[in-house]
Every structure is written in C-alpha cells, then in structure tokens.
C-alpha cells in the first residue's frame, strides 16, 4: 500500500511537470517523424525487406508509443543525483526498497508520455485516414500485453544496471551516450531489426534489446503467432532473471563501496 502512495505522489509530481514530459515526447515524435518521411520516399510503392510503407508506418508509430511507455530513463538520476552527488544516502535510510522507489517514480512518467504517444497515434490515424493494422481481440492480444509488461521490466533493470556502474566509474556520461547509440539501433527504433544487415541482426537477437520494443510492437501488429509469443515471453523471462541477478550483485557490492558526507 505504501508503494501505491509513493506512486500517487510521484504521479502528482509528474503532472506538475507535464510540459517537460510533453517536450520529451516531442523529441521522440520528431525523431520518428523524420524516419517515417524517409521511408515514405524510400519505399515509394515497393516493398523493402518484405515491409511496405503502410507496415513500416504502423511499426514506427507503435515503436514510438512503446518507446515512450516502456523505456525508463532512470540511469542519469541513479548515477548522478543518487550515487555521485550522494542522494542515495537518503534512500538508504528510508524503510523502502530503493529499486521499488525508483520504479514507482518512473511509472508515472512512462504513463504520461505513453498517453501523449497514444493520443498522437490516434490523431494521426484520424487525420490521414490511415488504418493501422493491429492485432484482433484474442488470446494473442493477452500475450502481447504480457510482452509489453515484460519489455518494460527488461528496460527498467537494464537502465538500473547501467546506472549502478556509477559506483565504480566517476565520469559515466560517455558510457551512457555510447550505450544510447547502440540501443537506438538494437531496440529497433532506427529501423525494424529484420531490415538490419545480417551480422547486426544476429547481434541484436542475442541481446535483450529487441525484447523491449521490437517484439512487443510486432506482437501488436499481429505479426507473431501465439507460439512465437510464448517463445518470446520465455526469452524475456530469462533476460529479466539475468538482469535481476546482475543488478542484485552490482547493488550489493556497490552499496558497500558507497560513502556520503554532509555537514
């Protein structure tokens, strides 16, 4: 119950800063919009790698929504505000789990940004009269929702893990930027993973990243069978276990190393 209270308090704070959230959403919208325009010309009536423009459009609009809804941005707060500037001390003294607090702080931001994205997708569909191809109401839809929840969990643990690197690396911004570039490609934000060159596609499939955006988006497009979805959910659970194990280890070691002073 106390975490629900924390969630509600964070939700109020998020609504207070809704214009900031909206600008973040606009950043993602501009990035996606430019790529959609690009494919509009690049496909021009033909299919590329089995994707026609309509499918690509649906993919990018869903990827925009998934990106806003599922990808946490806690790593900077964890690394700079909490670990480097010592804010973690205050969290350690509270009778709450640090990771749950971070999760409850992040979900409101994801919900608000996801809300902006969903509105934008509906508006786009309404104005352009383009019918977005989505999964019908079925058992597969239920499984698709599960992939979304698990996708959020993977992204959350991944961001938490890289944030905790700050226990050992003092200047971490370069690492974050490098990882951001890698993940823009491997999440499937730049283009669908199946359109990447073969060697890069293989690397992507061996990483947890396609299970955050790419597969949940394909699931909602109705491009995956129930059997495929079960396989994806299994891999997602494995990745969550791996990331949780890494997180737990880093946290236990890092906290022992952490020191904060004040006057």
């Amino acid at each position: 119950m106390r975490y629900v209270r924390i969630f509600l308090l964070n939700f109020q704070r998020t609504l207070r800063y809704r214009s900031l959230s909206f600008v973040w959403f606009l950043c993602a919208l501009v990035d996606v919009g430019i790529i959609i325009f690009f494919w509009n010309g690049a496909t021009s009536g033909k299919t590329i790698g089995g994707w026609n423009f309509s499918e690509l459009l649906t993919y990018y609009l869903f990827a925009l929504t998934a990106g806003q809804l599922l990808i946490s941005h806690i790593e900077y707060d964890v690394a700079t505000l909490h670990i480097q500037q010592g804010g973690l001390a205050a969290f350690l003294l509270k009778p709450f789990s640090y990771i749950r607090m971070q999760c409850m702080g992040e979900i409101p931001w994801r919900l608000l940004n996801g809300y902006f994205a969903i509105i934008a997708v509906f508006l786009f569909s309404f104005i352009t009269h383009i019918q977005l191809k989505t999964i019908p109401f079925s058992f597969a839809l239920l499984l698709a929702i599960v992939t979304v929840v698990l996708g959020f969990t993977i992204a959350f643990f991944y961001k938490m893990v890289i944030g905790l690197f700050a226990f050992w690396i003092i200047e971490i911004r370069g690492l974050f930027e490098a990882l951001e570039v890698v993940t823009v490609i491997l999440f499937g934000n730049l283009m669908p993973i199946s359109l990447l060159p073969h060697w890069l596609m293989n690397i992507a499939y061996m990483s947890p990243f396609p299970y955050v955006i790419y597969f949940p988006v394909l699931a909602f497009e109705g491009k995956l069978s129930a059997l495929n979805l079960f396989q994806i959910i299994s891999v997602q659970i494995i990745w969550i276990s791996v990331l949780f194990f890494v997180y737990k280890n880093l946290w236990l070691r890092g906290v022992k190393k952490f020191s904060a002073v004040g006057q």
């Binding site: 900031l20 990035d31 430019i34 690009f38 010309g41 690492l175 730049l190 060159p197």
Partner: protein, 261 residues
C-alpha cells in the same frame, strides 16, 4: 569589435584550460562525440542499405550528406551548443541578471561563454569521411570549391545558431522548459535528409522546414557539383534574415525578463 575579439580569445584560453583540468570529463566527452558522429554515418548507411536511389539522390550522395552534417554541426557544437544547454538555467535561476549588468552584448555572452573544444573529434571524423566519400565518388575538389564551401558553412552555422537562439529565447517566458534544447537536438535530424523528402510529404511542411533543409544540403550540393546560384543566394539571405531576427527577438524578450521572481 576589437574588444569582443580579445574577450573571445580570452574565453578560448579559459575553455582550453578547463578542458584539460577535468581529464575524466574530457575523455568521456571525446567518447560521446566520437559515438554520435559514427551514429550519424552508420544510421544513414543502414537506412540506405536496401536502396541505391532515394528522392533522386544516390546512396553515396546521401552518405556525403551525413559527412557534411558531422562537419557543419561539429562547428556549431564547438562554438555554441553548450551555451544553449545553459540558456534556460541562466533564465530560470536568474543568473541572467549578472549577464545583463556586464558591459558587453548579452547575446554575445549567452552564445559564446562556453566552447566545446572536444567536438574537434567529431569535426575530424566528419571531415575524414567527407574526403573519403569524395574519393569514392571520384570528385575532385578545387581551391575555389573549398573557399565557397567555407563560406556556405559560415552561413549554415549562422542559420542553425539563429534558429536555436530564437527558440531558446522563448525560455524568457517559459523558463522551466529546461529540456527545450533536447528538442532542438532532435530537430537537427531534419537537416540530414534531402529537401525532396519534405516536399513529398506536404508543400506547407516543406516551407516550414525550408531554412533547416538548406543547412546541410546546400554545401553538399556544392561538393557533389549540383549547386546553382539560387541555392547559394537562398542560403545567404536566409542566414542574414534569421540572424537579424534572432537579435531583435532577444531584445524584445528581455523586456519581459523578470529575474528569478
């Protein structure tokens, strides 16, 4: 003019000293700069990997655009970008008071105080890639083209600077929008693609983004040998108009500045 030149030289010296005073930070900034320049090139490589012609542009020409993008934006990042990152904080926290009290132009201060010398890495990668693409495309560059390219680059940087300044000036009214600068980084992406791409979407949209589409495409056209006099004149006039506009808009906005209250 002489006063501003001596101030700017002093700023370069201070920023240079700062750069090496925080070595870990320098190392990180170099990594970030390197990674983003590679991303611009690799993303264009990936996007064009499935088609040889897009919007009437060959794949190599689009890769040349990515190289020119790195060159021109790295110059902008070296000279101005970090100042815009501080812009909303100066307005929001009221430290703009101190800027306004100084006996120099506040626009000069707000635009030039911080210089990101580490972005030279990005410039070098961009320039290297441009030279490589020119070699691949069998294009020979004459001293005249180099000179004209430098002029066009100055106008392009003026356009980017003026647009950023115009938009960041809005924080005088909405100072809490500290992530507005991130939106500008995203909008930069518009300049990486040919104008035909936007014409295809909508004529109205094309006219809205026209100044941005000139920034990278015009210098690239020069290198590819497809430039016309109209392109050069349009770039120069747009740069001068936007620069003048940014100056007057800043003066106008300062009337509404209320410090940290």
């Amino acid at each position: 003019m002489k006063k501003y030149l001596s101030i700017y030289l002093a700023l370069v010296r201070i920023n240079y000293t700062n750069l090496f005073a925080h070595r870990a930070n320098l190392f990180n900034s170099i990594i970030a700069s390197f990674v983003w320049s590679i991303f611009v090139i690799s993303s264009m490589t990936l996007l064009t990997s499935k088609s040889s012609h897009i919007f009437g542009w060959q794949r190599n020409e689009l890769l040349l655009v990515a190289g020119v993008y790195n060159v021109i934006y790295s110059i902008f990042y070296i000279l101005f970008a970090r100042n815009f990152e501080e812009f909303s904080f100066r307005v929001h926290l009221g430290t703009l008071d101190g800027v306004l009290l100084k006996p120099i132009s506040s626009q000069f201060f707000m635009s030039n105080w911080l210089i990101s010398l580490h972005q030279v890495v990005r410039f070098s990668i961009g320039l290297g890639f441009v030279l490589y693409m020119l070699h691949v495309m069998h294009i020979t560059i004459t001293p005249y083209v180099v000179l004209l390219f430098i002029f066009l680059t100055i106008f392009s940087v003026m356009i980017i600077y003026s647009l950023w300044f115009l938009i960041m000036t809005l924080t005088v009214w909405q100072s809490h929008l500290r992530n507005l600068v991130e939106l500008l980084y995203s909008i930069n992406g518009i300049t990486r693609y040919p104008q035909e791409m936007y014409k295809r979407v909508s004529v109205v949209f094309f006219w809205i983004v026209l100044p941005l589409t000139l920034v990278i495409i015009t210098p690239t056209k020069l290198l590819a040998g497809t430039i016309t006099a109209v392109d050069v004149i349009l770039l120069a006039i747009t740069a001068l108009i936007l620069f003048t506009l940014s100056h007057f808009f800043w003066k106008f906005a300062l009337r509404f500045y209320v410090s940290a209250n």
